[in-house]
């Protein structure tokens, strides 16, 4: 088998997804520029100091020193990388990209693809590459938006977030998305309906998010929260000046690899029937 057919399949998949990927990327790019504009407005009005003063002492104690970081120019600029709405839409996009094989089985298009001399593992490989490229494209556009915003709108005296902070946040978020892509792909590899695969992965992501949230607020749930991939997304530590923990990278990459491996095994063994 020559190398051309798998690339053809990848190109076709990316072509079909280009509108949603570019739209999402453009929206996040614009969102980041907007966040810089908001941060500039607050900075110029001296609002960060006023906002900080409004926080009651007990809340300051509860939230710790990170609160100061968030009520700053850099904090507002970086908010997009861990805002619930942004994370939710990016996880949703990752799931949508990764569940394409289930859609191809459901419509019967997989019959036509696999009736050609194309090995099944290429279907999974195509989806992995498509997921990685999609995540890279969307996050790349998000970073581009941040850079454009900072270069054009940031006040001269403002403490800008460092390149390494933006890079670490994007990398950590990217790994989290890759992890959910892998989970969704593993489910899609065994599913006959995309809606079922997408919904299952979505519910799993929501449960994992809530588990992590509860674990952060309620001590007894903390050990259970370690099962959630969201636990290994640590924007607060990064904002406080910490480096991206290798443990987080390893766990998220490990989940991703396990998910992709499961997808290969499940897809190679399944019956293609719709």
């Amino acid at each position: 088998m020559s190398g051309r057919p798998p690339f053809l399949l990848l190109a076709y998949s990316l072509k079909r997804m280009r509108t949603i990927l570019l739209t999402m990327g453009a929206l996040l790019c614009a969102f980041q520029i907007l966040m810089v504009a908001v941060a500039r407005a607050v900075e110029r009005s001296g609002g960060f100091a006023q906002l900080s003063a409004l926080i009651p002492p007990f809340a300051r104690e509860l939230l710790g020193p990170s609160i100061a970081m968030f009520l700053s120019f850099a904090g507002i600029v970086c908010l997009g990388y861990f805002h619930v709405a942004v994370m939710g839409s990016l996880v949703g996009l990752s799931i949508a990209v990764a569940t394409v094989p289930a859609s191809e089985v459901e419509t019967g298009f997989m019959d036509l693809i696999l009736s050609r001399p194309l090995a099944r593992h290429w279907i999974v490989t195509r989806s992995i590459v498509a997921a990685v490229l999609s995540i890279a494209l969307v996050l790349g556009l998000m970073v581009l938006g941040t850079w454009i915003g900072l270069e054009t709108l940031a006040p001269s005296g403002a403490a800008r977030p460092s390149v390494s902070l933006i890079g670490s946040l994007a990398l950590n978020l990217g790994l989290l998305l890759l992890c959910w892509s892998a989970v969704a792909l593993a489910i899609a590899a065994a599913a006959r309906r995309r809606s079922v695969a997408g919904a299952s992965a979505g519910v799993l992501a929501l449960v994992a998010f809530l588990l992590d949230y509860v674990g952060r607020l309620w001590q007894p749930a903390e050990s259970l929260a370690r099962l959630s991939p969201f636990r290994y997304f640590s924007p607060f530590d990064l904002m406080m000046g910490g480096r991206l923990p290798l443990k987080n990278v390893a766990v998220l990459l490990g989940i991703a690899l396990a998910g992709f491996l499961a997808a290969y095994v499940l897809f190679s063994r399944r019956d293609i029937s719709h």
């Binding site: 399949l9 079909r16 019967g108 019959d111 696999l114 009736s115 090995a119 029937s273």
Partner: protein
């Protein structure tokens, strides 16, 4: 391993839980042969075709295409196969040309534009239609597109699942001509169909499945010979039919001047008993494949 056959199926079984879709199927299709694969809905036709393409994994037995195991050597087995599924599952946002280019590309070979254009002309799907997205296609147009993608690389084996479903009579004719040419160039066709007249016309042999089991495998000519003929006897004047009929002859209908018999085997015994009667004319209705196959279908239903 049966090298000489285009398709070789050895004890193939497929079970879904308690449901047996295909049961211990044995079948060989010679190169250059056109096999009609018949059976009522749920008989196991599509399941068998999907196992040949390694879309489904058998629970028992093996299937080979040109000597290559469909499961273990699937890439080799499928390297020269054209497939038309029962339903064309294609994304509606693609154009006809995009679908044809993608599927030709996935086959690994170069796209023969001349051959494609020839198929377009014959099946009545002009380039202006192929530039449109599939959401604008009718069922018949999708079927034509399916036929073009199956035939465009001139494969040595064609697996066609109900190929004329949704085609108008003119296009059905074009398809039959295409099949005849395919046979002339030595390719093999394995087609499932519910249209018995079509199978009668284009197929060399018929394999009939009933509840996953092969119940009939014969040449179409042979099946016709198996079937009983109808003989209509026109009389010059009113008369009563003979009370005793020879073996193999059965009275079907009687009217004062018209008797209809069903005859199995030679007509001699019938002609012998008709000698005393004032026979004006004799009409022999040749048997059709349909007569035999329908009998199997009725048994299946009962």
């Amino acid at each position: 391993m049966p090298d000489a056959s285009a398709v070789s199926i050895r004890g193939l079984s497929k079970q879904y839980g308690k449901l047996i879709a295909v049961n211990n199927l044995h079948l060989d299709v010679a190169p250059g042969e056109i096999l009609g694969f018949l059976g009522l809905n749920g008989a196991g036709k599509t399941t068998t075709i999907r196992i040949l393409l390694d879309l489904l994994r058998p629970t028992g037995g093996q299937a080979f295409i040109f000597g290559h195991d469909c499961q273990r050597e699937g890439l080799h087995a499928r390297s020269n196969v054209g497939y038309l599924p029962g339903e064309m599952g294609i994304y509606s946002d693609l154009t006809g040309f995009e679908v044809l280019d993608l599927l030709a590309g996935l086959s690994g070979g170069p796209v023969d534009r001349t051959r494609r254009r020839e198929l377009q002309d014959r099946l009545g799907l002009p380039s202006s239609d192929l530039r449109r997205t599939l959401r604008e296609y009718s069922t018949g147009m999708k079927r034509k597109l399916g036929l073009i993608q199956a035939f465009q690389s001139d494969p040595l084996l064609l697996l066609l699942d109900e190929p004329t479903e949704g085609l108008d009579p003119l296009m059905q004719e074009a398809f039959y001509t295409l099949i005849a040419e395919t046979k002339r160039r030595g390719a093999t066709v394995f087609m499932s169909s519910h249209v018995l007249s079509e199978v009668d016309r284009v197929c060399d042999r018929v394999a009939l499945l009933r509840k996953g089991e092969l119940v009939l495998l014969r040449a179409v000519e042979e099946i016709r010979r198996l079937a009983s003929r109808r003989v209509r006897v026109h009389l010059a004047e009113d008369g009563s039919p003979p009370p005793d009929l020879p073996p193999g002859v059965q009275m079907m209908e009687t009217a004062p001047r018209l008797w209809t018999f069903k005859v199995e085997g030679f007509l001699g015994p019938l002609l012998e008993i008709l000698r005393p009667f004032p026979v004006k004319d004799l009409e022999v209705v040749e048997p059709k494949l349909e007569d035999v196959v329908m009998q199997y279908y009725r048994e299946d239903h009962s």
